[in-house]
Symmetry: none
Subunit: 259 residues, 2 copies
């Protein structure tokens, strides 16, 4: 659906919007309306709480049915992101993670650059009440923080989508795409990254590095974040598979069929 005349950017179709476990159909509908206002149409839902399709989403979309009709549903955030290379997570606060935080406008510029290089992009939003889990934030390259009144910064889900999508729309309208060297290697997709992470963590597990078990989640997150910050290319991910296989004598499992 992305790439049809529902979008009108000259520089690419713009980011997919991924809502993780949204609670209310109304918010999905309002988000769809905000997306189409900003020329976006690729909406993906991970485990919507009220199921799908949602009549209340359609009621709130005020005619943005083209977005809702094309919604895709996923079981996991990882699956929703499988084909995406450039992911930014919208979150109000980071919980004990080292991750670069940028403004909506800076994220918009990075997305436009990435699309000019043939990459695909997505914006990740968490559930209304709790926001994104650490495990989902880890799938993103950087975190977007919308500058807001520190004394009253809680933003409705659809309003967060609107502000960030509109920053993209404004930048895309106002900017010529930057030229990148033709030889820029392809960025790794989330599926490729996660496949490597799992191979790496399995080898670490067997080597005894991920002990004690109660520390494992934080250790794994920290290592994943470290590699996320490197903006790995597909070629580098293949190298890293080789590194792990060679160092550990651990045979790489192919997960390509699962992603």
């Amino acid at each position: 659906m992305a790439g049809t005349d529902a979008t009108n950017s000259k520089h690419g179709v713009g980011p997919a919007i991924i809502l993780v476990a949204p609670q209310l159909g109304e918010n999905i509908g309002a988000a769809a309306r905000a997306m189409l206002n900003c020329g976006l149409s690729d909406l993906r839902l991970v485990r919507p709480r009220e199921g799908w399709p949602s009549p209340r989403a359609y009621a709130m979309a005020s005619g943005a049915d083209v977005v809702l009709d094309a919604v895709r549903i996923f079981e996991t955030t990882r699956e929703a992101l499988a084909d995406v290379t450039t992911v930014f997570a919208s979150t109000a606060r980071l919980r004990d993670m080292i991750k670069e935080t940028i403004s909506p406008r800076e994220a918009a510029k990075e997305i436009i650059r990435a699309e000019a290089a043939g990459e695909t992009s997505a914006l990740l939003f968490g559930p209304e009440r709790t926001g994104l889990s650490n495990d989902d934030v880890v799938l993103a390259r950087k975190v977007i923080n919308v500058p807001l009144n520190p004394g009253f910064s809680s933003l409705n889900l659809a309003q967060a989508v609107l502000l960030i999508a509109h920053a993209w729309y404004s930048e895309a309208q106002g900017q010529a795409p930057p030229r990148l060297p033709a030889s820029t290697p392809r960025a790794a997709t989330v599926a490729e990254l996660v496949n490597f992470f799992e191979h790496f963590e399995e080898a670490l597990e067997e080597s005894g590095f991920l002990h004690p078990p109660e520390k494992r989640p934080a250790m794994v997150r920290n290592l994943r974040n470290l590699f996320q910050r490197a903006n790995l290319t597909e070629q580098e991910v293949r190298s890293l598979h080789g590194v792990v296989t060679n160092l550990s004598g651990h045979r790489k499992r192919s997960r390509k069929d699962k992603s």
Copy 2:
């Protein structure tokens, strides 16, 4: 009732938001929330259709009661604007009027300049269905047009308030540099990095990964670059030493005396 009380007491507090004949209490509440998100608190209503106060406005404000409690009601737009010098009207289209049209960001810059000169400012929004009348638009200096998908440009009232108020807030805050959490641990020194690289490469050498020898220099450079892009912390470098030692069973040689 308009008069000195109607002015913001300090300069630099941002524009008043004036909603002309809003139809739904919900939209007033959502607008109040968007205002407070962006640090604005001077909300004025001209002939709200459902009367005032509105329980539905409070329900939608999600805690922005400070804005709703201070709402002032006016009979006419002219009275609501009596004390204001710099007025911009939000409208999707001009009906047979010659009026300069600017973006939210341009309007934000003019408001900030005006306030620096001691002026007061306001943003004017029309009723949900019909928008501002020509007589109201005439009271404004210029018209604000939010750039949106021409194929789907209808914006909810509170969303229009949000986008324009947020453009003001962002300009007023200035461009914030990318931030890292306050608890950011110390970055690794070059000595620490090189110590890790050599440990890593020695393990790779022994595992047979760095063959054939003529390819070794490029392979090593690529791996070093990948880790350089991650801006590793000292703590992460220690983790990575542990990873290499565990995966390879290779005893880390201390090179501290050499660095």
